[in-house]
């Protein structure tokens, strides 16, 4: 019981500290902006640990963070193998191929308003569909290896990317296209110098959505068949054996991978669209 009390006290103290920090000038600094959420996250962990210990929750229901950390430390090679299989071989190639294909398709249909008017509503609709449902079919086609996982990811990211890129290509202002016309710019010049840069914020918006979809696709596809490693495989088998500490370890890796992928996309976005109002501070 004392562990729980202690955790609650830590939580309250940290919350009070955060309230004070948020009201102080520190909150305006970069350091403060990173510190406050970090304190919040850390106290969540403390609270979790206290809850598990204080209430004596069985590890088959919720293992303590310390137990999960211990599990991660002892099973690094296995986690790495799963990570490589699911993220490096499944999610990332699929993400790149799917986004690339969407980009090429968008540019290809750019000159045909007819195709755009036909494809866009369908693309919008398909983007809202539960495409994960294709996973079993693609696993049947491409086998249990990483290829089927990459294929699921390709299909999942394709439509949201397509819709975003097509919208982005239409984002340049009429006046700027007129200017290009007064200079006698060719279609290609207008595309490269004006419309593609103007489309970048939309492209990155799509990439951010796609980066989370990629992980979902790669993991779900493994539920339908995989070699005897991979994050989805590990999660579903460990859940069956009630090895929840291992499941949480995989989740921690997935969370890290997801945040990392998103973070990388966001960093590139910052670098390439520094000029966009949303990136200026």
């Amino acid at each position: 019981m004392s562990a729980l009390l202690f955790a609650l006290l830590v939580w309250l103290a940290a919350w009070a500290l955060n309230v004070w920090l948020a009201g102080s000038p520190v909150a305006k600094t970069r350091f403060g902006k990173a510190l406050v959420p970090l304190i919040f996250g850390a106290t969540l962990l403390v609270l979790w640990e206290g809850l598990v210990r204080g209430l004596g929750i069985a590890p088959v229901i919720l293992p303590a963070p310390s137990a999960i950390a211990a599990k991660i430390a002892t099973s690094l090679p296995m986690l790495w193998q799963d990570f490589a299989q699911t993220i490096l071989k499944g999610a990332i190639p699929g993400f790149l191929i799917g986004s690339g294909a969407a980009f090429l398709t968008a540019v290809a249909i750019d000159r045909s308003p007819f195709l755009q008017r036909g494809l866009l509503p369908i693309g919008n609709f398909v983007a809202a569909l539960p495409i994960v449902g294709l996973a079993p079919i693609l696993v049947m086609w491409f086998g249990f290896g990483w290829e089927s996982k990459a294929a699921v990811v390709v299909v999942m990211v394709f439509f949201p990317m397509l819709v975003n890129i097509v919208a982005g290509l239409q984002a340049s202002e009429r006046m700027q296209r007129d200017l290009m016309a007064t200079w006698g710019a060719s279609y290609l010049q207008t595309l490269v110098k004006l419309r593609l840069p103007a489309a970048l914020p939309f492209v990155f918006n799509g990439l951010k959505i796609a980066s989370t979809l990629a992980l979902i696709g790669a993991i779900v596809a493994e539920f339908f068949g995989s070699p005897t490693f991979g994050m989805g495989f590990r999660i579903s088998t460990e859940v069956g054996r009630l090895g929840l500490d291992m499941v949480w370890a995989e989740i921690a890796v997935a969370a890290l991978a997801g945040s990392l992928l998103y973070g990388i996309v966001a960093l590139i976005e910052r670098w390439m669209t520094f000029w966009h109002p949303s990136q200026r501070h």
Partner: protein, 264 residues
């Protein structure tokens, strides 16, 4: 400096008509427009919205295509003239690309037209100096004030040395004080470069202050109701706006606008 007394016609419109097909039926944007603009003139187009002043400017730049009549620029069709880089166009908004620096923006038309690197740099420096923005080349547009952005867009239009400068309410979005200064600078620029300038505005003082020729237009259908040749001297300090001649011309423009209004 070019010879500005040369009176060869640069832009000639004869019986020009332009009809837009809209959802509510055809709209006559320009009706039977006849106008000759000579080399080195500063011509203002003034009138209420819908009078076709912008449409006419866009037709000169080959951004719109007349339904009938003839329109020649330097003796060519507007499309040919555009390919010969006959005009620079300045819009109401600066329309600078936010991902390019000021220098990069001015370089953009030069890149498209295939100037080499060294020439690009030389011209950028030259026009930045012309609009008094030297030292701001490395800034991004959003780091500059609205007036400075508009000056940069004028520099961009000047960079490839077209004879004709078409300006569509370039200072319409700026406040009066900045506008006065830019008007003065535009006149200086015109005197220094000797370009032919077509200038759309809805401000009577601006039109009278800047122009050698004022074209008064009326809407529905868009047409020319009066063409006024200004007797004001080439040297025009801001104070000229209090002189009697200035007030007389302004009065005539106002009368012209009112007459066009009554005919509806």
């Amino acid at each position: 400096m070019k010879d500005t007394t040369n009176s060869a016609p640069v832009i000639e419109a004869k019986g020009l008509n332009l009809v837009f097909q809209t959802a509510d039926g055809p709209v006559q944007a320009l009706k039977d427009v006849n106008l000759t603009i000579n080399r080195g003139e500063f011509v203002s187009f003034i009138g209420p919205s819908g009078c076709g002043k912008t449409t006419f400017l866009r037709a000169i730049a080959a951004l719109e295509h007349p339904t009938s009549g003839t329109l020649t620029v330097n003796g060519m069709t507007p499309d040919e003239a555009r390919r010969k880089r006959a005009y620079g166009y300045v819009f109401q908004a600066a329309g600078l690309y936010p991902w390019r620096t000021i220098a990069g923006n001015i370089k953009l038309p030069l890149e498209i037209m295939g100037f080499d690197r060294a020439e690009q740099d030389r011209r950028v420096a030259q026009v930045l100096d012309l609009v008094e923005l030297s030292g701001f080349g490395k800034k991004f547009p959003w780091q500059l004030s609205g007036g400075m952005q508009q000056r940069a867009s004028i520099a961009r239009a000047l960079a490839f040395d077209a004879d004709i400068l078409l300006m569509d309410e370039p200072f319409g979005a700026l406040d009066e004080i900045v506008r006065d200064r830019l008007n003065e600078e535009t006149l200086k620029l015109w005197a220094r470069t000797g370009k032919t300038i077509g200038f759309v505005t809805h401000s009577i003082p601006e039109a009278v202050y800047l122009s050698t020729k004022i074209v008064v237009m009326s809407p529905r259908p868009g047409r020319i109701t009066d063409v006024i040749d200004s007797p004001l001297p080439k040297e025009r300090p801001l104070e000229i706006r209090d002189s009697r001649e200035f007030i007389e011309i302004a009065h005539r423009v106002r009368e012209g606008l009112r007459a066009g209004h009554h005919e509806e």
